[in-house]
Amino acid sequence: MTSCAIVGGGLAGFTVHATLRHGGLATGEIAVFGDNPDPAAVWQRRAASIRQREMRSESDGHCYPTSFPGLAAREALRRRTPGPVLRSVCDRYRPSVDEFLAHVERLREHSGWDESFHRARIERIRAVPGGFELEGHGVFRHVLVAPGHPGLARPFELADDPRAVHAYEPHPYAARVAVVGAGMAAATEWRNALETGSTVASVRRREPERRPLNLPRPLFTRRGLAGFHATPPAERVEMLTRLSKPSYPPGQSWDEPLERARREGRFAVAGAPSDADQIICATGFRRGFGHDRLLARLVNEHGVDTAGRWIVLAPDSTVPALTDERRTLALAGAPAQWAFPAADTLVGMKFAAHAFLRRVSRCPTR
């Protein structure tokens, strides 16, 4: 019998699937519902659009269920050099995008992902006695929803501007480029456009923070999470809003090209993209469950608790009102930030996956 369903066939769903397989579930016990059998397809398209070459994540940024061996150890073994491990020990290891995609491909084959995958879009999840009914696909005791980001965010004032393109959509670079935004994608686009010889105007409302990972490191483990989980809802909303401000890593490889271009008069911070030939919106994704039809419907039909734009989750990423000893409804990826602020990172996906596996393993009727 298929006991577990994963709604969403992206990297979050893929990570959860690999973790369940590691936990002893057969491919036949897991059903994955998604649009594309390639779990990296959506991510790869975005990475290619911004010409991303390296991951922001470090050695732990992978989809394997255990943190060891990470990508650094595997690369060191494959290339027979201690370099990646030594760089990882100093937090200087960033796997290349190719390295990451190759690992996804290997894990896809090894985990039997394709045997569990069903090409289908789930539009509605309904709680029923003993589980959840996924419209037209039956009832499952344990369901994890990983729908990904609910679309790209564009400034409304640029909605009809023919010069505007989103950073995560394929695009060339014009002679005069304005990049709206100040996060990782924006920083990557500054560099890309400068490399092609463009003049770049950085349009931003605030100065970006500089940090190696999306969030301060303690928030990736129980050390920081214990305090986060103990924070009252109103404060937690404020905290999540604050944490979602744009940032990109510190380091010469980012600063040096910008400084050089600034000296040459090819890079400047501007208030508006007025005279640009092209406007690249590095403004990330729409935020909040309200933009996702499946989640919005789930909240409306089942009276699920929410706070601000977030669905209120238990610390283990489950929806408290719909989870008990015999059934589980959990979220992973971007919508799971209430449980793990960096839920849309690979480490965050693993956090939700591990918690889901614990739930499934403990269930007496799995």
């Binding site: 255990t66 943190s67 100093c90 937090d91 490191r217 483990t221 050390r223 920081g224 591990h354 918690a355």
Partner: protein, 393 residues
């Protein structure tokens, strides 16, 4: 990784399990307690650092920090081992520490994440396994301390007053004299791991006779009126400290004689006072350290390291001896440094030209390496005879 406090402590205890097992095996093989004492100190230092310092100082701990921390832990552990007199050979102890550190790092970064799926996000906490580890660690400690306690040699207290000797110690034990305890007729030590402390010995053929015994400690003992040697050691290893010997009856008696144990471990004599005797301290074919002793009024030599002995003669005071103050003879190798020799008298009656009041003498093929010694009123001065050599540091 960003460890929680619980995670730090649990991880530290978990990574100590393999070194602890290795220490148990090593202790069994070497028949020594130091591996267990060392691993205990390593764990104690580690836990103290984790709980007292690192948790507050390092909200996030990058991997490379393990290296400088390892050096700090090494220094703290070895310093504590020295302060607590853990009797560990330095090279072996260093090798054990380094090996344990490497194993711990492998377990920490590879083993625990493989065994406990959410190890990284749990901040080093081990879930149920952590509770087991937390229970096993004090149990193991109690077990080791218990075994160490029960296998310690018993202590026999000698009450104040006179006791009839000779007392024969033929099994491991500590003989501890209360103030005023006196043994008439000598003490014989015939077993390993014997300690004699705080006892006065009167008479006896030898005051204290140690024969075929290793790891013997004679501490704060007084020997007086022995018919032959004050302390007589054969084929044994001894540590003698803070002793006093006088009133030897035979003109051929030595204050302390340690002989024929070169194939055993080194012996030592420290802070002892010997008055009279043919030789104050004599050693034959042993490896020995003689430090900070006070020898006076000897009739043959104050200190004699001879018959292919090897060792240090350092910080001693030799006063009023007849013939020779410090003697290094018969192919021995002696390092002689920081000693003071006064008033060594020529032994004219012997007609022996090698006994003309030498403060320090190398004799018959011996090599004496000299440091900064002080010589006063000794007409023979410092010299080498019969193919012996003097070398300066």
């Amino acid at each position: 990784m960003s460890y929680t406090l619980k995670g730090r402590l649990q991880s530290r205890l978990a990574t100590a399990l393999l070194p602890f097992a290795a220490a148990c095996v090593l202790a069994g093989v070497l028949q020594a307690w130091w591996p267990l004492a060392l691993v205990g100190l390593m764990v104690a230092v580690g836990l103290a650092l984790e709980g007292g310092l690192l948790h507050r100082l390092l909200p996030y701990q990058p991997g490379w920090v393990a290296l400088p921390l390892g050096v700090v832990e090494l220094l703290a552990t070895m310093g504590l081992a020295r302060a607590l007199s853990v009797d560990a050979p330095v090279r072996l102890a260093l090798a054990f520490f380094v090996g344990s550190w490497v194993v711990s790092q492998v377990v920490l970064h590879a083993g625990l994440p493989l065994l406990h799926l959410s190890y990284a996000e749990d901040g080093g906490e081990l879930g149920r396994a952590g509770l087991v580890v937390a229970a096993v660690a004090p149990t193991a400690l109690a077990l080791v301390v218990g075994v160490a306690w029960t296998t310690q040699p018993p202590t026999v207290h000698l009450a104040a007053g006179f006791h009839r000797g000779p007392i024969v110690l033929d099994r491991a034990q500590t003989l501890e004299g209360e103030p005023g305890s006196v043994v008439r007729g000598g003490i014989r030590v015939l077993a390993d791991d014997v300690t004699v402390r705080g006892v006065t010995v009167l008479g006896g053929e030898y005051g204290i006779d140690v024969d075929g015994a290793e790891n013997v400690v004679l501490e704060d003992v007084t020997v007086s009126g022995a018919e032959l040697d004050g302390i007589h050691v054969r084929r044994s290893t001894v540590t003698i400290r803070d002793c006093s010997i006088d009133d030897l009856r035979s003109p051929y008696a030595q204050g302390i004689d340690i002989s024929f144990g070169f194939d055993l471990g080194p012996s030592s004599v420290r802070r002892c006072t010997v008055r009279g005797g043919l030789e104050g301290i004599a050693t034959h074919f042993v490896h020995v350290e003689l430090e900070d002793n006070r020898i006076s009024s000897t009739q043959g030599r104050g200190i004699a390291m001879t018959e292919m002995s090897m060792g240090e003669i350092e910080g001693n005071e030799v006063i009023g001896g007849l013939g020779v103050g410090i003697f290094c003879g018969d192919y021995s190798h002696c390092r002689i440094d920081d000693n003071t020799v006064r008033r060594t008298r020529p032994d004219m009656a012997s007609g022996d030209l090698t006994r003309l009041g030498y403060a320090i003498q190398a004799h018959y093929g011996a090599t004496a390496t000299l440091g900064a010694n002080s010589v006063f009123e000794s007409p023979g001065g410092v010299g080498a005879v019969l193919g012996a050599r003097l070398e300066r540091e």
